[in-house]
């Protein structure tokens, strides 16, 4: 066997021996390559084209487990749903998620974000209220800013009170494009 085949066999062996803690791959998107990472529970991290893959993988190794391997097959379903979403043919993601990278208020805020329907928007204040603390508007903003699973947990649907776009990990142009794709922006 050549080196590539040996590596492929190793990934299969690692998975069946229960030694594959974080599987990852890269997926094409209209905005550039996305890094997709999943644990046995589900998708745990999506890296934006603007982010450095190596740094993200090091972070996953430190925070979850250093047993990190490139295993594209483990992310086939996530990649398929993302493709359909970018084509405008999928409104609700159905893939299991692993929330472990967000804790406490941040997790509650992001769970509230995950319930915002396709094509609709909310303000950071509304997210804060939904997460159980209506005064924590800033904290809701930083929860969105640190969203480990963007796109699938749609923090792009959260805007400033009054309708200004606000920040986005993938850049403001990507936020605007996603909202347009969903028909949430006029013209």
């Amino acid at each position: 066997m050549n080196e590539a085949q040996l590596k492929e066999r190793l990934v299969e062996g690692a998975a069946s021996a229960g030694l594959l803690d974080v599987a990852y791959t890269t997926a094409d998107s209209p905005f550039g390559p996305l890094l997709l990472a999943a644990t046995r529970r589900g998708v745990v991290r999506i890296g934006m084209p603007t982010q450095d893959d190596d740094a993200l993988l090091e972070e996953l190794a430190a925070r979850i487990s250093p047993r990190v391997l490139e295993a594209p097959a483990r992310l086939d379903e996530a990649r398929r749903e993302l493709d359909l979403y970018f084509e405008g043919r999928l409104r609700d993601f159905d893939i299991p998620l692993d929330w472990r990278l967000s804790r406490d208020f941040r997790r509650r805020a992001l769970r509230a974000v995950a319930r915002i329907p396709y094509g609709e928007t909310r303000s950071y204040a509304q997210v804060a209220k939904r997460a159980g603390n209506e005064r924590a508007v800033r904290a809701a903003g930083s929860a969105c800013g640190s969203n480990p699973i963007p796109i699938v947990v749609p923090c792009h649907r959260v805007l400033r009170t009054g309708g200004a776009l606000g920040g986005y990990g993938g850049g403001p142009a990507m936020k605007e494009a996603l909202l347009r794709l969903e028909g949430a922006l006029e013209t």
């Binding site: 590596k7 190793l10 690692a14 090091e58 996953l60 391997l69 490139e70």
Partner: protein, 154 residues
């Protein structure tokens, strides 16, 4: 500050080629595939328990060599029957054959010591640890292996 453990994939990408080369020299091309798998599965199993990310290459090479030695021991316990004992076994290696083939023909301890020293670049203490012997014994195996190779090449 101690260095963090890098993602295992980085380790695999960096060292797979070298581990495979060493295993091919130690056990031959066919069995190297299985030893490669065993090496990296064992490494992956133990990996999160490491205290730091220092000298991961040496750590991997040590595992690879233990797997090669295990392989030789297992093979020694089940000899392969042949119809007649050919002359092949005593035939001297051809003068134009590669150095690693000659290394492959050394007795197991000498072969292991030479590969660990020159292919994996391990110090005597780590060779001793890999071979489960004293540093003096490791040095002796290395010395005898080299002496033998020199004689064959002369």
């Amino acid at each position: 500050m101690v260095s963090a453990l890098p993602p295992f994939q980085a380790l695999l990408d960096r060292h797979a080629g070298e581990v495979l080369g060493v295993l091919r020299a130690a056990v031959g091309g066919v069995d190297a595939d299985d030893c490669f798998q065993e090496t990296f599965v064992a490494a992956l199993r133990a990996y999160p328990k490491l205290d730091h990310g220092e000298n991961l290459r040496g750590w991997l090479m040590t595992i690879a060599h233990r797997k090669a030695i295990d392989h030789h021991r297992a093979k020694g316990r089940r000899p392969i029957p042949v119809e007649e004992v050919g002359e092949m076994a005593v035939e001297a290696p051809k003068p134009d054959s590669g150095i690693w083939e000659r290394v492959g023909a050394l007795p197991p301890k000498q072969r292991a010591a030479v590969t660990l020293r020159y292919a994996c670049d391990l110090p005597h203490a780590e060779i001793a640890a890999a071979l489960d012997c004293s540093p003096e014994a490791a040095r002796r195996s290395l010395h005898e292996g080299i002496k033998r190779l020199r004689k064959e090449l002369a």
